[in-house]
């Protein structure tokens, strides 16, 4: 297994988004600057995240373009088509926003989103993202380890699992008017999975606040699991004793298991997981065990039958 941590991507090799979108920004610059002169800073600077440091948790692979990351999404709260979230997520209001952290913890608390943004230093981490539908991306997320939050609420001895609950508001999330999944969207992790440093509490991508269609204002990213495990637009994090039943487990118990680790050897009930199409590439590539993070997370599943606990 290639050690992805060994060579963090050189800053010089990453085309900054500013350059990538240079032309468009140049055209907009004149108008933008004059607007900025009139408006208070809080209005125009809201999307840029400040003081983001590069993390060593970064794969040296070509980034999926910003446009694809933000226009090809599975976020059924805004419709089941890949382009639906980008089209419909404008109705999501990300301020005010709170995240209730509760259950088997000594210090339950309702966090304000702006408090969460400052809870720990923000890091940029370039992770692979592997969808259960056999496509993949490489995304520069911004956030910090979920463990930072978990430590602060002090889980009790009974906390064995963590449940993530996403916003349920059909007015803001028109896809919830359809019963394609049971709302609110619920996901879950074992506590040790949630505590793993790779498990990211993400608030941004490409150096800016999360676009709505990518799960604004706050989501988790678990890079060694299929994408749907990484709950978006989270409003509640609950520590529980029994494994939570997730929305996808309810939707297809034989197709979506609690673990849903990326595994080329365990196929989906209806399609193969051996290969994937990296967005932007023509030829399919081989899917890696735990999405290439086997060295880090393999030991979490030692002795388990991954065919049974899929």
């Amino acid at each position: 297994m290639k050690n992805y941590k060994a060579k963090p991507i050189a800053t010089s090799e990453i085309t900054p988004k500013e350059l990538f979108y240079g032309r468009r920004e140049f055209i907009q610059l004149a108008g933008g600057l004059s607007l900025a002169a009139i408006l208070p800073k809080s209005v125009w600077a809201i999307d840029k995240l400040a003081n983001v440091k590069k993390s060593s948790y970064t794969v040296a692979e070509e980034l999926t373009p910003y446009k694809d990351v933000t226009s090809y999404n599975n976020f059924y709260e805004f419709g089941t088509g890949k382009e639906n979230p980008a089209e419909n997520a404008g109705s999501l209001k990300t301020r005010p926003w709170t995240v209730a952290v509760e259950g088997e913890v000594k210090k339950p608390k309702i966090f304000d989103i702006d408090e969460l943004l400052k809870l720990a230093p923000l890091e940029e981490r370039v992770y692979r993202l592997r969808c259960v539908e056999a496509w993949s991306m490489v995304v520069p997320w911004v956030g910090y380890s979920l463990a930072e939050l978990i430590k602060r609420v002090e889980p009790t001895g009974n906390a064995k699992y963590v449940e993530f609950i996403s916003l349920h508001d059909p007015e803001q999330m028109p896809g919830q008017k359809s019963s394609v999944l049971e709302w609110p969207y619920r996901e879950g992790l074992r506590l040790d999975e949630a505590m793993h440093p790779l498990t990211l509490l993400a608030v941004g991508l490409y150096g800016e606040a999360l676009p709505n269609q990518n799960g604004a204002p706050i989501r988790v990213v678990i890079p060694w699991k299929y994408g749907f495990k990484s709950a978006k637009s989270i409003v509640k994090i609950r520590f529980v004793e029994k494994p939570p039943v997730t929305s996808w487990m309810q939707a297809g118990p034989g197709e979506y298991g609690f673990y849903s680790n990326v595994n080329p050897e365990v196929d989906h009930a209806r399609w193969s997981q051996a290969k994937e199409r990296r967005i932007g590439e023509f030829f399919k590539r081989k899917t890696l065990m735990f999405n290439g993070y086997a060295d880090d997370v393999g030991q979490l599943y030692a002795g388990m039958d991954l065919k049974k606990d899929f």
């Binding site: 090809y72 259960v132 496509w135 196929d267 209806r270 193969s272 051996a274 199409r277 967005i279 023509f282």
Partner: protein
């Protein structure tokens, strides 16, 4: 203008218009490809689009007979061949997309797909079955086979349509809206035939009984 009996010239015009309309989905794909606007996953987009239009043309083709029986417009049948060939045309594009763009002639993986993936197991034969229908669509072939045998052969299009809808149903992750819509339309179109067929059997029996009575 009487809709029941159209002149050959009118039918020819309808056919030309229909031919051009049927090419719009392909033209649109071509235009989007040229504009580099097929989205983040162009191969998926092409596969979905050609698959969708294969099923749509199959449904339109299967609607010709019921519509003719309901309206008495017999010229509808003269459009059927072109519609059926367009169904085959989009199916061939769909299959080629899978073969070339999606799998890039990875025969090992294709054979595995056909054997192990139920939606491909049912979709592949449905496509294969369309080939003899397309090949025998010419007037010469109808003559060569004889009307009865030809009709019997072309009834297998029912299986192609059923297979195609199941193929779609089984590949969708969760949102079944489109497959259900196709399934309902197909049920209506095949149900009409069943209803009509049962009715004609009853009529035959009745006339046979009347014959013995007299």
């Amino acid at each position: 203008m009487k809709l029941k009996n159209l002149s050959n010239k009118t039918i020819a015009i309808i056919k030309i218009v229909m031919f051009l309309l049927a090419l719009i989905p392909l033209a649109k794909l071509g235009w989007l490809a040229y504009q580099d606007d097929l989205g983040a996953n162009p191969i998926e987009k092409i596969t979905r689009t050609t698959g969708y239009w294969t099923l749509t043309f199959l449904m339109i083709t299967l609607a010709a007979t019921p519509l003719k029986k309901l309206t008495g417009w017999s010229w509808l049948i003269r459009l059927r061949r072109m519609l059926g060939l367009f169904a085959f045309f989009y199916a061939a594009l769909h299959f080629s997309t899978y073969l070339v763009l999606d799998q890039f002639f990875d025969w090992d993986s294709i054979i595995k797909d056909i054997a192990k993936r139920p939606y491909i197991t049912v979709g592949f034969p449905a496509f294969l079955l369309l080939i003899p229908l397309a090949v025998t669509s010419t007037d010469d072939m109808i003559r060569l086979l004889g009307g009865k045998r030809w009709k019997l052969l072309h009834r297998s299009v029912y299986f192609c349509a059923i297979g195609g809808v199941i193929h779609y149903w089984w590949l969708v992750k969760k949102d079944l809206t489109n497959p259900i819509t196709f399934a309902l339309i197909l049920a209506l179109l095949l149900g009409f035939r069943l209803f009509y067929w049962l009715g004609s059997i009853r009529k035959q029996k009745l006339s046979a009984q009347l014959a013995t009575l007299s």
